[in-house]
């Protein structure tokens, strides 16, 4: 179980988290749903070790073994699609390059630079780049923005096959339906409204 206990985070007078606590099962796909700006991204960034909460503790996973997909694509304008993956793929998984390209349906664009890709293709590249990292917890911030439904289904099926805990934030109802559980949030400051477990 990933346990966040009494987390507080504020920027100046703007409080994002105020004594926020939550337990998330460390298996399957957990979707975080809530209005924009409620604090979902901040929670994911804290879990990834990119933000330090002013108070509170997090237990149940190794922060060094998390992989985060950022809300922005954050692609290198001068690196090709293929290079984005080879840059992060560990040597023992180098053979998975073609599989990841095929998963993102980017085989034809392997030698292209990001500027030649559509918004959806860039998002898919950012998604598979995160999966190329060796991690024991994947944190995905709005991973399917601009991605069409059939591809979302394929990518969600792949996430289930990973058999590793995935926490993602999303607004898409289709993604919420495919997740193992949905945590409905509100804020700021962030609070849990409802936890829905799905079969």
């Amino acid at each position: 179980m990933i346990s966040c206990s009494q987390l507080s985070l504020s920027y100046g007078e703007h409080t994002i988290l105020n004594q926020f606590s939550i337990d998330i099962p460390s298996e399957g796909i957990t979707a975080l749903s809530g209005p924009s700006g409620c604090g979902k991204t901040s929670l994911l960034r804290i879990l990834a070790g990119l933000e330090q909460p002013q108070t509170g503790t997090i237990t149940g996973f190794d922060p060094q073994k998390t992989a985060i997909q950022f809300q922005e694509n954050r692609l290198f304008p001068w690196r090709t699609v293929e290079e984005h993956l080879t840059d992060v793929l560990p040597p023992h998984r180098a053979s998975q390059l073609s599989h990841l390209l095929s998963l993102a349906q980017l085989e034809q664009a392997a030698k292209q630079l990001p500027k030649a890709l559509s918004g959806g293709m860039q998002r898919r590249l950012s998604f598979v780049r995160t999966l190329a990292l060796d991690a024991s917890l994947y944190l995905l911030d709005e991973p399917f923005t601009g991605v069409d439904l059939p591809r979302i289904t394929i990518l969600m099926d792949f996430l289930k096959l990973l058999q590793l805990p995935v926490i993602l934030s999303t607004h898409e109802t289709e993604v919420l339906q495919l997740a193992d559980r949905v945590i409905v949030l509100d804020g700021p400051p962030l609070r849990v409204i409802q936890v829905i477990s799905q079969p």
Binding site: L50, I68, R74, R79, V88
Partner: protein
Amino acid sequence: MMRSIMAFLKRIVFPVLLPLVFWLGVWQFCAYQVDLWVDGRGNQLLLPYPLTVLETFVSLSLSPSFWHTIILSLLRILMGILLGCLLGGLCAIFTTTSTICHCLMSPVIRIMRATPVASFILLLLLWFYRNTVPTVVVALMVLPILWETMAQGITAVDPQLLELTRAYHFTPIQTIKILYLPSLRPYLFSGLANGVGLGWKSGVAAEVLCLPKLGIGTEIYLTKQNLNIPALFAWTIMVVALSFVMEQLLTLWVSKKGGSV
């Protein structure tokens, strides 16, 4: 056919041939006026004809020492530019990563920028061999330019990409290769474009004052001693041409390294 003619006009005629012919015409006209109004050796002492300069250039270029002189000056200035780039890059790294370094080094570099090149040359002449002074002077002139542009480049690196390299556990070498070098390339390009021109100007000025055994600056100094103005023009045109070629080659090298931005 029409399109290729237009392309030729746009690429060669308008930017290169037209200004060249125009300014050669202006030069020829002025030299003719000098010839008309000043008696005796007016052209030889004040303003030679373009053809006289060309003849001088050809006669100079037939001598093996001409090319030897050019190669030595070229090497001195190129080494100075590379040294200036290296030191400027290091200064940029130190001053952008450490506030103490920034406080300590910024005034020094600002003083270097404001110090007249002649003061540097005369001072360095006391400390270094005369053959080495032009290289050191060029390095000192190029250093502040590269420092400033590279520091701008380092501070302008996309913070989101920088955060990504940390989150994805990139090694320092990966971060430099994948993020910093491509991000800095336009800044290096701009710094080199300014630095090469200044490097040639200051390098030749240093040679004029230091008089190394073989050097373009030494030859220019001798033209003054011998009142050989056509040779002064010929050497000057050579310096301009070399500076232009070096700038083109260095910027081509920088633009080829690391793919397109």
